[in-house]
């Protein structure tokens, strides 16, 4: 069973990417998503791809899935009724949170706090206490706990969370509470903070574990149903779910720790971008995934995505590793408006969404959106015959954008260009957060743009960032599914171990790292990943003693054995200097240790397209007028499907395909490579 299937469920379409691991053959399919139960769309897609390829579903050995079930559960507030057990004296840990009120000076006047995911009335206290060093100060009062669990059971909780003070240092009481809960309410899933995230900081640990409980029943049901249906059709197939950090989890692990799947969707895009960019010869990348309502950006260095020890969905932030994807409320549907008092042009974060959508979609939308501005500028195909999946209404778009033009006393073209400039600036801000703010120079990175709207704005953002080339992969709308299919199995284990360097030893640190590697390998072993195919890497979160930040450095165990803890210490100094311009001559401190175990990389490569010369004229569809860099000019419209490797397209140009449109600006050239990527660079004037 050499076939691996990637499936990405988006808001509109479910994409399928099927690949033969042996010969690299690839089949794709696209079916409408089924939001009420996304597994139906998945099964429809599988049926379609099998029909297209003439394969039997039973030939598929692995299904790899990026899912937004967990994300949507949080965003729509449709999670489980969660009960929470805290230590006596800390019942309001979620109510108080970090006491933070956003919005600057006076922000409290308008701030309304959202309800915690575990209601306060369903939070009970355990009479017990563990000290910061893990010593038991007061044993657990089991009798009173049992009564309180009975109370929660009576109130109908659907999931239980246990998060006790200092449990990161000693999980004994949490484990005991789980055993008691198993007797009191055997059918209720229990999440322990010690299992989910054994790290210091009680609020962050509690909210993360509660989030796990909150999404768990939904994710569990979804995965169980999908597994059952898949096995009915495909026999002994293995389902894997893409984690927020870009690794793959077994379906069992996904169902138990779904808090790690909150960014499963965007992680697929980043993985797909990486897979295709690597083959095109680029390992330093900024990714830009622009959809209808928001844009996700991330940074990949040396073929590794930057991982952040935090995941944010809506107004929930949890401590779970995720690819450092920053999201801005800027998409094709973002609405432009001009507030009366300031007369400034603002774009987003309000979005026209799928319904009614931009005015150009002709579904009754009246507000000017980014898509409408692009339409006015001539960046979208003016006729459905030129490609694109729907007929756009240029007049409706112009009427909408005229509102902004009138409010700002600008011409229609200038108003449209302004809207596009502002939305570009917002995305530019997000790209800076993952690059410049982290100490990376964007000029060392290529910019890969995908998602429905990314290729329209990519060239302009490349210019703002000086990130060349701008890469537009083939099928920019289906990149996520290819990422799902080509990603590798990954698991990690971590532990908080706070010691100043002088209070621990290389031997102690190495022993813990090796122990963690063993524990992280368990899930890969159970997936039948041979030990020889497993790659183990180690990480340490370090800081200067007294500092609040944590910087993660890769820990080379051999080097630590040979040179002691200075091996990681000097790496930390360097990184600190890179980020903050200075290093300090004070004690360093270990905070967390982590082992990451990965399966082998896919051997599948992207399909190559036919070679030709530099002349792209066989792909020309038409000419159309565009407004670019403050002037009207004539752009050539190309059909992406007809472009061949070696073709060179001089801007201004528009390249259309089924689910996306790419723009090449004046003064830029797009080269088509062997895989069908468009590589856009500025035209260098010879001196």
């Amino acid at each position: 069973m050499p076939y691996t299937l990637g499936v990405d469920v988006g808001g509109t379409f479910t994409d399928i990417f099927l690949v033969n691991e042996d010969d690299g053959k690839i089949f794709t399919a696209k079916v409408p998503s089924t939001p009420h139960d996304s597994s139906i769309g998945v099964l429809n897609g599988i049926e379609k791809v099998c029909a297209n390829s003439g394969l039997s579903a039973r030939d598929i050995g692995h299904v790899m899935h990026g899912t937004t079930v967990a994300t949507n559960t949080v965003l729509t507030g449709s999670g489980a009724l969660v009960g929470l057990v805290t230590t006596k004296g800390f019942r309001q840990v979620l109510q108080i949170a970090r006491s933070y009120v956003p919005g600057g000076l006076g922000g409290w006047v308008i701030y309304n706090k959202s309800e915690p995911m575990a209601p306060l009335e369903l939070t009970v206290e355990a009479d017990e206490r563990v000290a910061a060093d893990g010593a038991i100060v007061r044993p657990l009062n089991e009798e009173s706990l049992r009564e309180r669990l009975e109370f929660l059971k009576g109130r109908g909780i659907e999931a239980l969370t246990v998060c006790l003070i200092n449990s990161f240092a000693n999980g004994a009481h949490e484990h005991r509470i789980r055993d008691i809960a198993a007797e009191v309410m055997p059918e209720i899933p229990v999440s322990l903070s010690f299992d989910v995230i054994p790290e210091m900081q009680e609020y962050e640990r509690a909210v993360t574990t509660v989030a796990n409980s909150y999404v768990r029943p939904k994710v569990q049901t979804y995965i169980q149903n999908l597994t059952r249906e898949l096995q009915l059709r495909m026999g002994n197939v293995k389902l894997h779910v893409l984690r927020s950090d870009g690794g793959l989890a077994s379906s069992a692990s996904a169902a138990e720790y779904p808090v790690n799947m909150l960014m499963s969707g965007p992680a697929g895009g980043v993985a797909g971008a990486l897979w295709i960019a690597k083959q095109a010869g680029y390992t330093n990348l900024l990714t830009l995934d622009m959809g209808g309502t928001s844009t996700d950006v991330a940074l990949i260095q040396n073929a590794e995505a930057q991982i952040r020890r935090e995941t944010t969905v809506g107004d929930v932030t949890v401590r779970a590793s995720s690819i450092d994807v920053r999201t801005v409320g800027a998409g094709g549907g973002s609405i432009a408006h001009v507030p009366e008092l300031t007369g400034a042009l603002r774009v987003g974060p309000q979005s026209a969404g799928a319904e009614p959508g931009p005015a150009a979609y002709g579904n009754g939308g009246l507000e000017p959106t980014v898509t409408d501005a692009n339409m006015v500028l001539g960046y979208l195909p003016k006729s459905a015959l030129l490609g694109g999946d729907m007929q756009l209404d240029g007049d409706a778009a112009a009427r909408a954008v005229q509102k902004v033009a009138t409010a700002m006393n600008l011409s229609l073209d200038k108003a449209a260009a302004g809207i596009v400039d502002i939305v570009n600036e917002n995305m530019f801000g997000a790209l800076r957060l993952v690059s410049i703010e982290q100490g990376y120079d964007p000029r060392d990175f290529a910019l890969m743009a995908f998602g429905g709207a990314g290729p329209l704005h990519a060239n302009a953002l490349g210019r703002l960032m000086s990130s060349w080339p701008v890469i537009i992969p083939p099928g920019p709308g289906v990149l996520c599914a290819s990422g799902d299919a080509t990603t590798r199995i990954r698991d990690e284990a971590s532990r908080t171990f706070i010691r100043r360097f002088r209070d621990t030893s290389a031997a102690e640190v190495v022993a813990i790292l090796r122990e963690l590697a063993e524990s992280a390998a368990t899930s890969l072993n159970s997936e039948d990943v041979a030990r020889a195919d497993q790659r183990v890497t180690y990480q340490a979160d370090l800081r200067y003693h007294g500092q609040g930040l944590l910087l993660t450095v890769n820990a080379d165990v051999e080097a630590i054995v040979a040179q002691g803890l200075d091996a990681i210490g000097s790496q930390f100094d360097e990184r600190h200097k890179q980020l903050f311009t200075f290093a300090l001559d004070v004690d360093k401190e270990v905070v967390n240790l982590r082992a990451v175990v990965e399966g082998r990389e896919t051997r599948v490569s992207a399909p190559r397209i036919e070679k030709s010369d530099s002349d792209p004229s066989a792909a020309i569809l038409a000419k159309q007028t565009v407004f670019m860099d403050g002037k009207h000019c004539e752009a050539t419209v190309f059909a992406r499907a007809k472009l061949k490797s070696g073709n060179q397209i001089i801007g201004p140009a528009i390249i259309t395909e089924m689910d996306s449109t790419s723009v090449i600006l004046v003064g830029h050239v797009g080269d088509i490579d062997d895989f069908g990527n468009i590589l856009i660079r500025p035209i260098v004037r010879s001196s």
Binding site: G106, L120, M200, G548
Partner: protein, 624 residues
């Protein structure tokens, strides 16, 4: 004699007309730069006050020193006016002397760093930031002595000084300063962090000038200030009445047994200008509760508050300063004469916001917020561990946010921007403490249609002998309710000794000895209520009871009668609410302060267990 600016390049900036889009882009870029400054600071600072609680504030100003993005308005003007020296490329200034910068910072714990940003020999902008240092020496750990009478008792005072000259750190100067602090490594790295943040802002400004042009950046900053002025002038005309409004509020005591101290302010509009006049405010205190209030900073407070209350879409900066005039009498609590002590100014600084809220709201009751947790009480704990290591904690407390037109005040939250609590596990890991309780207290939020937030209780269990300091207020006067809402509960501190004896603590006191095994219950105060409590949905009151945020007994203050903690007695509730409605119909006052000062003093011992403060005696001091 004001500072002298030395520029190699004297070419004046040319005003250029910018298209509105470029302007918006520059505005966004400056905003981003400001958030980047925060990010660098919080990540690299070491003191819990800055790294966990975020007691530090950045700013970017134009070349004239007007704040374009930031929080508390510009510090530059006060500095350049008071500094007798040159400002040159490569200089970075440090000061913590409030008197040398006209109160741009208001106590010596705040270290202010100012960095002129030069490009091609011309000053193009300023970056600046101040942060609260946990210790700057002086008579008590934490450097906030409640009994100081002169600033000299409050630690080392650094006049505006070039801490970098020609991009070169003046390390001797820094060494002298650090040598006077109890936790020099914290000061050192917090200082580094502030410098790194300013450097970053400078880099961003130069990048922007490269991208858009120097003249364009100059003109954009000007226009951003102008844009704000236009928006604020409409706001002032539509919300500030020409008739004089007055409001007063109080600091309960001065830590030396005297109080309360009155802050009075009148506000009226004269044409397109609004005037704030603090005539009637009490004279300066002989103690350390004085607050040297910078007039420009007060304009920012007032402006931001108006924006938040009336139209949060407006971007605030210094542009509207010409539209406000602030009059503060010399020698009063808000403009004390040098060398009056200033360290414990937090209470007055905070009360200013209650005064503003009352002033702006009384003409527009729909927009009026109650009084609340506008203070930031301090807890300090220090000593030597049994292994001989010095420990020293400075922690800021939070409490109930007031009831507001927008809704309930959150429980146990901060009114100060960007502040967060210190995780209790962090405290226990780094200090000899065990936190026994971390909860908000039922019924401490003022009842109202929108409930005031509950006060926070932190019970500190001490694991080592040591000394603590408590700095708090609102133990005598109430956080008032508005529009029929009731006041929040006042603050209280109880030290439970290891032998079980309970001792009520004064609201402001240093050097309290504690023994291992003692527990301090540090209860802050609740926010005032907004609107008539009997109009609050009974189901929401019942939910608060179920959650333990209001007691069954406390629910009666909302006119809600409960059978038990989950069931409402509908008939009894209707009756009780009707009685309350009738009683309320005679009410004319929009503020409920829980009694006059005389009444509060008379009831003080019985209600609080503490002696009322003596009426303040003022000692006239000449300006010097």
């Amino acid at each position: 004699m004001p500072a002298q600016l030395i520029q190699k390049n004297q070419t004046p900036f040319r005003h250029t007309d910018l298209d509105p889009i470029t302007l918006d882009i520059i505005e966004n870029a400056l905003k981003n730069a400001r958030y980047e400054m925060d990010a660098v600071l919080f990540r690299t600072a070491m003191s819990p006050g800055i790294r966990e609680q975020h007691d530090a504030f950045p700013m970017i100003a134009n070349c004239e020193g007007k704040m374009v993005v930031g929080q508390f308005g510009s510090f530059i003007h006060g500095f350049t006016e008071g500094y007798e020296g040159t400002i040159e490329d490569g200089d970075i200034f440090l000061t913590n002397d409030p008197y040398s910068c006209r109160g741009a910072i208001s106590h010596a714990n705040d270290w202010l760093v100012l960095m002129p940003i030069f490009k091609d020999g011309r000053l193009i902008a300023w970056a600046s930031m101040f942060g609260h240092m946990t210790d700057i020496g002086g008579k008590v750990p934490g450097s906030l002595p409640t009994d100081a009478r002169q600033i000299y008792e409050e630690g080392i005072v650094v006049p505006p000084t070039k801490i970098y000259r020609n991009n070169e750190l003046q390390s001797d100067i820094l060494r002298i300063i650090l040598h006077n602090c109890r936790l020099p490594h914290w000061n050192r790295s917090d200082f580094n962090a502030v410098i790194a943040a300013c450097n970053l802002a400078a880099k961003r400004c130069v990048e922007l000038a490269n991208r858009f042009g120097d003249d364009e950046l100059f003109s954009a900053m000007d226009e951003l200030l102008e844009r704000n002025k236009r928006a604020m002038s409409k706001l002032i005309a539509s919300t500030i009445p020409e008739a004089k409004q007055t409001f007063e509020d109080y600091l309960c005591d001065d830590g030396m047994g005297m109080g309360p101290y009155k802050i009075a302010c009148a506000m009226w509009r004269d044409g397109d200008k609004v005037i704030f006049d603090f005539a009637g405010t009490d004279p300066q205190s002989v103690g350390s509760i004085n607050f040297l209030l910078n007039e420009e900073m007060f304009k920012m407070f007032a402006g931001v508050f108006m924006i938040m209350v009336f139209d949060p879409q407006i971007m605030f900066n210094d542009g509207f300063y010409d539209l406000m005039e602030v009059r503060i009498p010399q020698g009063c609590l808000l403009k004390p004469n040098h060398p009056a002590a200033l360290s414990c100014r937090t209470h007055a600084l905070a009360r200013i916001f209650d005064v503003l809220s009352g002033l702006l709201g009384q003409g527009n009751p729909d927009f009026l917020c109650a009084a609340g947790f506008s203070d930031s009480p301090h807890f300090m704990y220090s000593g030597y561990t049994s292994s001989g290591e010095w420990y020293q904690l400075y922690q800021i407390g939070f409490g109930g946010v007031p009831g507001r037109p927008a809704g309930d005040g959150p429980d146990g939250h901060s009114l100060w921007p960007s502040f967060t609590n210190v995780p209790n596990e962090f405290l226990e890991c780094n200090f000899p403490l065990r936190i026994e309780n971390y909860v908000t207290l039922a019924d401490t939020g003022g009842p109202g249609k929108h409930r005031g937030g509950n006060a926070l209780r932190i019970s500190y269990g001490f694991l080592e002998d040591g000394e603590i300091s408590i700095h708090d207020d609102r133990w005598l006067t109430y956080p008032w309710g508005v529009n029929g809402g009731l006041p929040g509960r006042r603050s209280r501190k109880i030290l439970v000794h290891i032998d079980g004896q309970e001792e009520l603590m004064d609201s402001k006191r240093d050097r309290i000895k504690v023994l291992a095994g003692d527990v301090l219950h540090f209860d802050t105060w609740g926010g005032g209520g907004w609107g008539k409590p009997f109009e609050r949905d009974a189901a929401i009151v019942a939910k608060d009871v179920d959650r333990g945020l209001v007691t069954v007994e406390g629910a009666r203050r909302y006119g809600v009668v409960m059978h038990d903690s989950t069931h409402v007695d509908a008939a009894a509730t209707a009756t009780l609410r009707e009685e309350m409605r009738i009683a309320d119909s005679a009410r004319t006052e929009i503020f409920n302060r829980g009694g006059t000062i005389d009444e509060l003093k008379a009831r003080c011992l019985a209600e609080t267990g503490l002696q009322p403060p003596e009426t303040p005696v003022f000692q006239v001091r000449r300006a010097g």
